[in-house]
């Protein structure tokens, strides 16, 4: 078996045992990147030399008998909205195309401390705004299962890189589904942790109260492995949960242990508008849980339908403020055509931002404007609270919620770009988790007739990722969807 077939955890064990050299894994994966990435377009930047240097360092440590970190030598890809001193941090935006971060994000420090080897930075919708990676200002990423289709987004580069075996694990970020939806479209595993579980320090902000970093991996165990590295309190992020309120557990420890008396909640009205093949796959998955002894109950989530409207007020309001700093004054793109400082702002931004980013900045600016604040932003905050209460009530009755990730499988490139609203509406199943701050995972649960992967979404209560992963693992053990590979 080629080392490319191994999971991250298996590769780590082989490297730690000295049976595989990290440098060989890096060389092998770069050979593959050089062959396939011109087609897939997962990476914006790769760091072959740096990666090899890190890999050699890990190999040397192992050869010398020194202890190594839990990701020893494992080649990992990182979404390009995570700040890293190596290479540029572009956010797939022209405005930051040449931006070099002077510091590493918290999760980058964690990966490095765990002896992971970072291969490069993956493509995304500009500033993580989008669901198809078509909004990248720098390049197009395609779906490895069908290169005429989108990989999902915004973490499309990370999801495609996992699916195409162009890395062993990846990090993404999820503001309204940006990890789970591309994971679903690309047939990989993706977790959005509870808001506050992973430090956002160094994640370029889109919607600060919604953004969360999480892993995209080949299976549930790899997600647990990465969570062990990246979760935990960071004093640099005031919204990161303290150790006494919710200590980060060992996510791998109980992973194989099924949950006895598992209660799964479903929300009946949510099935409207779901593609029949997706709905069938979800029903089949629920049957598997039932066969394992799980109890299925129906719950009402009366405010779920308002999630999209609520999200597009809150996320864009925060974005309009978060993206104000890209002004051409201190760093990033500056226009060549400025007569005064107002031109520096307006023209640098006009030239640097893409359409979707401008659209969201304008929406958010409008929502926060005096006279509109109460009607939009304040009301959205109230709706957000109601949605949170819906989840609280659901989790009082059940261990988890199960629903689709997306109403359809991956769509064609260009199919939805003309109608942004249609694109927004497709996020109906993922957005509510961000508003409520609860964790959610997408795991492969089948394929449609066109051979495109379908994702199963499982959501659980705040800071219960360990249980969520166990629930996901129960299903994964019964199926082999996650082992399938795209015919590149």
């Amino acid at each position: 078996m080629s080392m490319l077939e191994l999971t991250a955890k298996q590769l780590r064990d082989e490297i730690a045992a000295g049976r595989i050299k990290s440098a060989d894994a890096v060389t092998e994966v770069f050979t593959r990147i050089e062959i396939y990435d011109p087609t897939v377009g997962a990476y914006i930047t790769t760091f072959k030399e740096d990666a090899l240097r890190s890999a050699h360092a890990v190999d040397a440590k192992i050869a010398a008998g020194h202890s190594v970190g839990s990701l020893a030598g494992v080649p990992i890809a990182v979404k390009d909205n995570l700040c890293m001193r190596t290479g540029p941090t572009t956010c797939a935006s022209k405005i930051l195309a040449n931006f070099h971060s002077p510091y590493d994000a918290h999760v980058i420090e964690k990966l490095t401390d765990a002896d992971a080897v970072i291969l490069g930075k993956t493509n995304l919708d500009e500033f993580a705004m989008g669901s198809s990676t078509e909004n990248s200002g720098l390049k197009q990423t395609v779906n490895p299962w069908d290169i005429t289709r989108v990989p999902g987004g915004s973490s499309g580069g990370s999801a495609a890189a996992i699916a195409a075996r162009l890395c062993w694990a990846a990090l993404g970020s999820d503001t309204g589904g940006s990890i789970r939806q591309p994971a679903s479209f690309c047939g990989v595993t993706g977790l959005k942790p509870t808001y506050g579980r992973v430090s956002r320090y160094g994640l370029v902000a889109y919607g600060s109260s919604l953004d969360q970093i999480g892993p995209l991996t080949r299976d549930v165990a790899d997600t647990a492995l990465l969570m062990n590295v990246i979760a935990g309190h960071d004093p640099r992020d005031s919204t990161s949960v303290s150790e006494d309120r919710a200590p980060a557990p060992d996510f791998l420890a109980g992973l194989e242990k099924p949950i006895q008396g598992l209660k799964i909640a479903i929300v009946p009205h949510l099935n409207e508008g779901v593609d029949a093949q997706v709905a069938d796959a979800i029903t089949a998955a629920l049957r598997i849980y039932k066969d394992m002894g799980a109890e299925l109950i129906e719950v009402r989530m009366p405010h779920f339908d308002y999630a999209i409207a609520c999200y597009y007020v809150i996320a864009t309001a925060e974005a309009s403020s978060n993206l104000a700093r890209y002004d051409g004054v201190h760093y990033g793109h500056r226009t060549d055509h400025a007569d005064d400082y107002v031109h520096v702002y307006s023209r640098s931004r006009a030239e640097g931002f893409g359409d979707e980013v401008k659209r969201r900045i304008m929406l958010g600016t409008y929502a926060l404007s005096s006279g509109y604040y109460d009607a939009y932003y304040l009301k959205a905050l109230k709706v957000r609270n109601l949605i949170r209460q819906d989840f609280t009530r659901a989790f009082e009755q059940a261990d988890c919620l199960i629903m689709p990730v997306s109403p359809t499988t991956a769509f064609k490139i260009g199919e939805k770009t003309a109608d942004p609203l249609q694109m927004y509406l497709a996020d109906v199943y993922t957005i509510a988790a961000n508003l409520a701050g609860v964790p959610g995972i997408s795991i492969p649960c089948g394929f449609d007739k066109a051979g495109l992967p379908i994702g199963l979404q499982i959501l659980s209560g705040p800071f219960t990722e360990d249980r969520l992963l166990r629930i996901a693992r129960m299903y994964e053990k019964q199926t082999d969807w996650h082992t399938r590979q795209p015919p590149l």
Partner: protein, 485 residues
């Protein structure tokens, strides 16, 4: 024409807090450093950075608000105030909008007639300062972000001040308070305190009251400019009203700068621009909740405030209001006086040493009186020497001057400089006898008891002092003369 008017002034004040580090990052505060050397990714607004609240800054703000008799909010949050300006790297300022950390207070300000006046405080809230734009580089402007993120306490008063002197008195009193509390160095030249008076007049004319448009004078950083700019605006507004009859209307508030060279205000913005700061709660920061324990702990750090101390010094020690105010200009000087007096020294003697020689020396050196480096033990010793007559008042002043330049004790200095007064009656008596014998006319005048007596007394005393080379204790000389004549 019969025109009477009342001056109405409210103040907006920004105070830099003297915390070790900035408001939302770990950069050390610094003044006068090379541009952009006291910065980090957080305070220059790099992508991906997050603010973390400086707890010390919050505590300093609470302490100041308590000194200003404000209600302290037990729950507050942080808001983003959006506007584009090159010195504001995130293009929003983290501030407090609808839930300031304190409100509804007052400050008592001492007036020149010895009375005090109460001025209301509307609110005080905490925010971060911006950087500084400079335009001295020819074709382009430069931005220095060393100051960006400095904790800034904004205090807004009621429009309760009715003269330029009152505005200045408030500024000085506030400076004294923040220095006493140790929450700010209050150095005006370094921009630690910036004042923005809002001035207008209520003019009574032909039995009607007219309100002139409000002028906001921006960024004043000296007491003189505060007083003069307000006085200038009063005259300007009065003239303008008499010429044009303009009165306050929605949107005709104007912004003025102060031209220190020409001693006049100048128009900066004609109309109050319709700013929309798009305030919303900063999602990167968590709300601040103050527990009773925390509040009690902060309250325990409260010291005796300057005005209270000034009043106490005046009544307890019989000092003049002026002397008491000089002693309470800053906390260290007040504490020095307090400690010296507690050691048992005569309050008036210590007061004179500090407010006369001490103040003169401090002014020469541009320091505070306490900053001269005299400790209370040496000061007490000096006061005791002057009291007992070991040294004259003049000599005490000379000794004090010498004390600030060395660690020597006052008696060592006195000995070294030969300033100890002779109180040996035998020796002095001999001198007195000598002088009496040599000046029969003066002795006769003394005895005459008339107008000439006082003059003769002074003359004879002077003769003895001269013969003793200034070292005879004049009190004892007087006593001996009284006995003999």
């Amino acid at each position: 024409m019969d025109v009477q008017y009342k001056i109405i002034v409210g103040l907006e004040i920004h105070v830099h807090l003297a915390t070790r580090t900035k408001m939302f990052c770990g950069c050390e505060l610094a003044y006068g450093e090379q541009a952009n050397t006291r910065t980090c990714p957080v305070c220059i607004g790099m992508p991906g950075v997050l603010p973390v609240m400086n707890k010390q800054a919050y505590e300093y703000s609470v302490l100041t608000a308590l000194a200003l008799n404000c209600e302290i909010a037990l729950f507050t949050k942080w808001d983003r105030k959006s506007y584009y300006y090159p010195d504001l790297p995130k293009n929003y300022q983290i501030s407090q909008y609808d839930l300031p950390m304190s409100r509804n207070g007052f400050i008592e300000i001492p007036l020149s007639d010895g009375t005090t006046k109460r001025v209301g405080i509307i609110r005080a809230h905490l925010e971060e300062d911006a950087g500084k734009n400079t335009h001295t580089l020819g074709d382009f402007s430069a931005v220095d972000l060393n100051r960006a993120g400095t904790p800034l306490l904004e205090i807004v008063t009621e429009p309760d001040m009715n003269s330029p002197e009152e505005v200045c008195a408030l500024a000085q009193e506030l400076q004294r308070i923040v220095r006493f509390l140790g929450v700010s160095e209050g150095d005006m030249q370094k921009g630690h305190m910036r004042f923005e008076p809002n001035v207008n007049l209520h003019i009574t004319h032909s039995g009607q009251v007219f309100k002139t448009p409000i002028s906001e004078i921006k960024n004043l950083n000296s007491f003189r400019s505060i007083e003069r700019s307000v006085a200038f605006e009063v005259t300007r507004q009065l003239d303008e009203f008499l010429e044009t009859g303009i009165t306050m209307q929605m949107g005709n508030k104007r912004t003025y700068g102060w031209d220190d060279v020409n001693q006049c205000t100048f128009l900066q913005r004609e109309k109050e621009e319709a700013h929309d700061y798009r305030y919303f709660p900063d999602p990167d920061l968590v709300p601040v909740e103050i527990s009773q324990e925390w509040l009690t702990e902060i309250k325990s750090r409260m010291c005796e405030l300057p005005l209270a101390m000034q009043k106490r010094f005046a009544t307890e020690y019989g000092l003049s209001d002026y002397d008491a105010s000089v002693l309470t200009v800053d906390r260290d000087t007040a504490e020095l006086f307090n400690a010296t007096v507690k050691n048992g020294s005569d309050a008036k003697r210590v007061c004179n040493l500090l407010t006369q020689t001490g103040l003169k020396l401090a002014r020469e050196r541009g320091s505070t009186v306490a900053g001269l480096g005299i400790d209370s033990d040496r000061l007490a010793k000096l006061a005791q020497m002057a009291d007992s007559g070991d040294v004259s008042a003049t000599a005490a002043s000379t000794i004090l001057e010498e004390m600030i330049q060395s660690d020597k004790s006052p008696d060592a200095i006195a000995k070294e400089k030969n300033l100890i007064q002779k109180s040996d009656t035998g020796q002095i008596e001999a001198l007195v006898d000598e002088v009496i014998a040599a000046n029969p006319q003066a002795v006769q005048d003394w005895r005459s008891g008339g107008k000439k007596s006082k003059k003769a007394r002074g003359f004879l005393l002077g003769q003895v002092m001269q013969k003793s080379k200034g070292q005879a204790n004049p009190q004892i000389v007087n006593q001996i003369f009284d006995k003999k004549l």
